[in-house]
Symmetry: C2
Subunit: 305 residues, 2 copies
């Protein structure tokens, strides 16, 4: 049994809207965050699916301020703060804690490859010591297929031993259930909150003592995902999981971020949401029609957006 | 025959020294840059081996200013300016051009994987248009084993067609000679300067019409590498290449950046040069002894450092 008091539930790496000149569009972001919050999710702003790694640190800091000004509660946020440069990670993490973030989701520095666990330990350790704030709660971010910098069980063990109050959990986006299960078995009993990297493993993660999921499709299909989190012990849990999988499978047929943005733009009736920053490319007209047709076939919609 | 007027020769991604508190150490960097320059090399500051991707944009901007203040001529510099975020890349590139840099070495945005050539084209295109300076000369940076974002021939072709005066060349760090040769055959006749990613391919690159190399070991073994560049048509060129390879093979037995820094620290008699930023880890005592012993066996030294 996981007795952690840390963050639990369903979080969405909320999309970052951009204006036509490709500057971050705080107004549209606040609007979308409010809708996601209203569906019962937490906000993993600045995740992979937020195009966070296409934003500079000053742009992220300005968005954090804009979210606060827009009334988004820090306690429901788990901002991504892990950058390539230690100095950036420290600055962003400090700002997130200052805004009362319930936690931060922290990539390891991801440019250099084949680095040693000693170096990754030092990276996280320096951040924790430099931020120097007892309120800091770090959720590690394991996404080896993108970062190419995996986080090993051994590293997690060392970090938990050194910073038991601060290292609060992990998002496992590896898509490798054996890895997630191994983390749950080893670390969940210590109050370490394991989040699945998508709703595909939500039911399995909850059954194994996990904390929930952090999922791209939380931007578009939030209520049904939250419902499974809330009723995972109900008789229809497997059927719910299957329905979630069907929606996700549609989005997974397209480049995920452009597809999320196309869906939000459609249901918000605001084409501005579809803009992505290079190196991403927005869906073309054919892809957009295919996406909407496939979602229509599932009676999918985004009520209240 | 390559008739380009762009940068040619041997460039070194100069190491970035750090103070004990891990802040960039401009004073030691200026000193090392001067030594490298005096050996006849150009300065590819902020390269992979400069730990550039462990520095924030403000840290790089401050170092550019410090190098200029320290008397380092911009014309001999090819700063690395490609970051994950468009806004960072634009800011750094603009600053490099403002400092009179002979060129910039530009990674593609490297977090998102599997991106389309359309997106990479848009990334470079946006930077060129936003910098909007006729002096800008871009050397593309192909290092797929680290960035995991390869630059295809098709992309280079499109960029050259759209920005013939600005797209000046490439550093091919793939280590795949067939790829380098293909670039030379296709693009060198248009005045596109192809640099090998290390001196291992220097002779082959020059024989095939390339512009030189940009190499980590330029930090430690500069004169012999420059000598091969200057005398590649001499009878002893193959023997020179073999001698360069022997030195490189020693460094390649260790993590490259910590090994370069250990060697500089040793020959500069200044342990401060050995400090690396996490996620890198400096050589331990055993590794350091092994490195120095292996270099000693080659009668290697760094005269004048």
């Amino acid at each position: 049994m996981n007795t952690s008091t840390g963050l639990r539930g369903v979080f969405s790496p909320v999309i970052t809207p951009f204006a036509a000149d490709l500057s971050p569009d705080a107004k549209r972001m606040v609007r979308h965050c409010k809708w996601v919050l209203d569906q019962g999710l937490g906000l993993a702003v600045f995740g992979t699916n937020s195009e966070a790694n296409s934003l500079s640190t000053p742009e992220k800091l300005a968005l954090l301020d804009a979210l606060a000004d827009g009334g988004i509660p820090g306690a429901r946020m788990m901002p991504g703060t892990g950058c390539c440069a230690l100095s950036d990670t420290v600055e962003l993490t400090r700002a997130a804690v200052g805004h009362g973030a319930g936690g931060v989701l922290m990539l390891p520095p991801f440019y250099y490859k084949g680095v040693l666990d000693d170096g990754l330990f030092a990276s996280y350790s320096e951040v924790i010591q430099r931020v120097g704030d007892a309120r800091l709660r770090i959720y590690l971010y394991h996404i080896p297929q993108v970062s190419n910098v995996p986080l090993s069980y051994g590293l997690i063990e060392r970090l938990l031993a050194a910073y038991p109050g601060t290292i609060a959990g992990i998002k496992d986006s590896s898509g490798d259930w054996d890895n997630t299960r191994g983390m749950l078995e080893r670390f969940a009993p210590q109050g370490f909150n394991v989040f699945a990297g998508s709703e595909s493993f939500l039911l399995a993660t909850l059954r194994a003592g996990g904390a929930g999921c952090i999922t791209a499709t939380g931007n578009v299909n939030p209520r049904p995902i939250v419902r499974l989190f809330e009723t995972w012990q109900a008789a229809d849990a497997d059927a719910q999981q299957k329905a979630l999988d069907a929606v996700r499978a549609v989005f997974a047929r397209f480049p995920m971020i452009p597809a999320l943005k196309a869906a939000v733009a459609h249901w918000a009736d605001d084409a501005g949401y579809a803009t992505v920053r290079p190196p991403l490319v927005k869906l073309d007209g054919h892809q957009r029609s295919d996406l909407l047709a496939a979602l229509g076939a599932l009676d999918f919609s985004m009520p209240g957006l």
